[in-house]
Amino acid sequence: MAFLNEERVLTRRLQDCVSSVNPSLIDDLDGILTWLNPNEQESNHQMRPPSLRLKNGFKLLLDNKEIPSTFIELIREYLFLQTRAHFFRNFENVRSFKEVQKLEKYYEFPLKYVNLFSTDEWDNELNGFRAYLFSNNAILRCTIKQRLRQLILDDDFDMATKIYFWICQALECSLVYLILDILMDKVCEYAEHNMRGSYRKRYVVMETFNTFISKYWSSFANMLKCAEDEHEITTQIFNCFEKEFLRIRTSEIFEIFVANYPDSSPTLLELRNVLKSPEDFTHLISEFLRQFEERRMNPSITTAEILLSYVNAVKSILTVDTTGRYFQLLTNFIRPYVMERRDAVTTFLYAMLELDVSEISDPNVTSIHMEVLKDLARQLKDPEFTSLERFAAVEKNKGSIDTGFPVLFDHGKALHEQILDSFLHWTPEPSGTIRTKSNSPLLNKNLLDIILEIFDSKDVVINEFLAIFTRKLLALKYYRLDPKWLRSLKLLKKKFDVRNYSNGQDVSNINNIDVMLKDIKQSEELSTKMHAIPELSDKVYPKFISYLFWNAATEPFSKSTEFRLPTWLNNEVGKYARVYSQMKPGRKLHLFKYQGTVELCLTFDDGRVLESEVSFDRAAVISVFLEQDSQQGLTLMQIITKTGLIETTVKIHLQYWLDMAALYLNFDEGVYKILENYEKAAQQEHNVPVRQLKCKLRNIETSSETIDNIDDKQHQQFIDSMSRALPFIQGMLTNLGSLKPEKIHSFLKIAVPKEVGYSATLTQLETYLNVLVDEERLLATANGSYKLNKNTDPKR
């Protein structure tokens, strides 16, 4: 109301002014006022130049000397009034900087044609509006700030500068904090873009900082109104980049520590320089542990991969943390998990000893495992970490400070002063540090020691190593170990130095290795001597072991596993035993029948020569066919009786000889016979394995080199290992009728003693059960469970 009143009064006064001079100009006045009036949106200038009539009107009215000078004042007042009215009616609707500009232009437009105000006057007016807008229109304030931020982030510094200075004008002060905020955002964004994922470069912080400064600093300096060489602020920016670097690297710490490990070492070194406070470390490590848990500690990851990750992580942490204080956390963190995995120790040893496929008799190890194992082996050998002297040095210094003893005596000072100094300048560990329980400093430690800490105790490792080593030695031919093994042995013996042990049990375990090696050495000496004795065959390479010290792999002495050696073999071996007792008075020998191997050469009537290296029991099976009464062939039962082996084993061995085309099965008579003439038999008998046709004739190469045989071998090994569980399966099926494989599996897991060992998976068990069904020992029922086949001869 007040406005309308005022407007009316003003209009009246203007009309009065004009009509006092020339009443005919009233129309022109009305026209001009309407044209100028921002509130008359329908009929005002509408951002178009004035018409001729209006221009004429301007001339008549504004340049008219007759009209009193108050007239111009009144028009100005009128315009202010109208503009303000328009502004206050509309300012809340202004949402963006563009609209502000539009509004300002809208107000300014008529003034291009009518010279009513000096620039200052009008600017003052506008600044008033701006200040009002900025402080009272919250939405606009937000959008403008956002716009400014967005523009800067999008590198549009022209527009940003414009907006910024507009705000500065409006508020009549500079908004340093706003710009600094945005600068921070810009730094974040720039760092994110340039640092994330670039692990292979070093000095990333410095490089990113430099490009940032060269690209953007001049614009920022302009806005901040500071000199471009203002080092205080650029240093701060550099610090921000460091912080960002730390943040980004922390978030991708798993990638750096584990996934990209050897490649990421440049960034690790850089990280080391950036990591300063214990809080940073703590945060970094806890984030790492979180990611490690998420990505590695789940059942789908193989033990080898976990160990590899662990090794990489330990190395990374040691690179980053020179005090060697933090890797302990990782070890403690994943130890329980690793110890849950039964194959952890073996896997580790496989890698450490760099065993190849032939030496790992573990059906669970596939080629993919081998790759990981190789990688692990490589990482374990890393020369940079085989000795941790540099860490040790750091720790030494630390240790001396901790205990309060000065490291070096400065000869310029009196001794008491130095001691006083070292006490006075002693700084405690920052409270934020995670203290680990580690009571042994890193002195004399190396990577292997650290890795070994993941296992509950060294005993586990030693025992497992002994098992592998015993197996290796028992299977060893000609008494010589590869250099690879010797290296590993040396290393291990150093690691598990007897002197470091207080526990008697451990000592004897380590001692076992020496005894075993000595046994082998003496065996070599003895065998050389024995080969010189004419009555002894020099084809025999005996090993004489002190069985008490080979406990990990010796077979039980029970009669149940005994079988009859073929006569020829028994004779040879018997001679050796006798000679031994002569050479070593007071001692007798016991042959481990299941440990020996013999390289056989079979010659057939048709001139075929088969060469094969087999175990004694396998040799026993083929040898029964040499006996006089065997010419007409032997039934399975006869072979079992003759050899004294159990049925499963005999079957496996028979299959082997069938595959080798040394025997064939005559179905009509149900007997196995020697395949003397291959061509003839192939014509007569249909059951000679067809795939044998190609190979086997003068098969000089050992059988293991054909893929088929590897498959067969693996299958046999599998059946072999599973057959140990057979009595248990039979037992439970006798007692419980029919059972589902899952049930059998879980029973076996509980029931089979550790010495016998049951480590098959459910699928493996099912395969085996199906084999048993094929052999007609079991019946598969319709609901997927298995029961004993009562129709078969229980003795079979």
Binding site: Y547, L569, G586, L589
Partner: protein
């Protein structure tokens, strides 16, 4: 078919051949038999030795008590032993005609002589024994 063995790799376990234990040789050594002094298996070592076998042999006493050589030597060296078997308190001497003992006979002859009271002849041994019991 002819079978020819080109190479034979075999593993033997040696053990001390103690007469009356088991003669056939097919049976493996039994693990219960331990040295009466150190309670370690005959086929193991005495507590001071690392390697079994030649380095730490076994002896069989006339009383059929068996010991690691080092164990019984140490025992006989102590004055309180008086040359007696620590198990049965009979005079300790090596069983004759046993191959295990052959290498040790000389050493023990000397040792036993030293550990017994001087100037005792074989005939006087029984008297000596009686005296021993009287003293106790």
């Amino acid at each position: 078919m002819k079978i020819e063995a080109k190479k034979i790799h075999c593993v033997f376990a040696w053990s001390w051949d103690i007469p009356g234990d088991c003669q056939d040789g097919t049976q493996g050594p039994s693990e219960e038999d331990v040295c009466g002094i150190c309670r370690v298996s005959y086929n193991g070592t005495c507590p001071n030795c690392k390697f079994p076998g030649d380095d730490c042999p076994l002896v069989i006493g006339d009383c059929n008590h068996n010991f690691h050589v080092h164990c019984i030597q140490q025992w006989l060296d102590t004055p309180t032993a008086k040359g007696l078997c620590p198990m049965c308190r009979q005079l300790f001497s090596l069983k004759r005609g046993v191959s295990i003992n052959e290498a040790q006979v000389e050493k023990f002859a000397h040792l036993l002589m030293k550990s017994r009271p001087t100037a005792l002849t074989t005939d006087e041994e029984d008297i000596m024994m009686d005296q021993e019991f009287l003293v106790r």
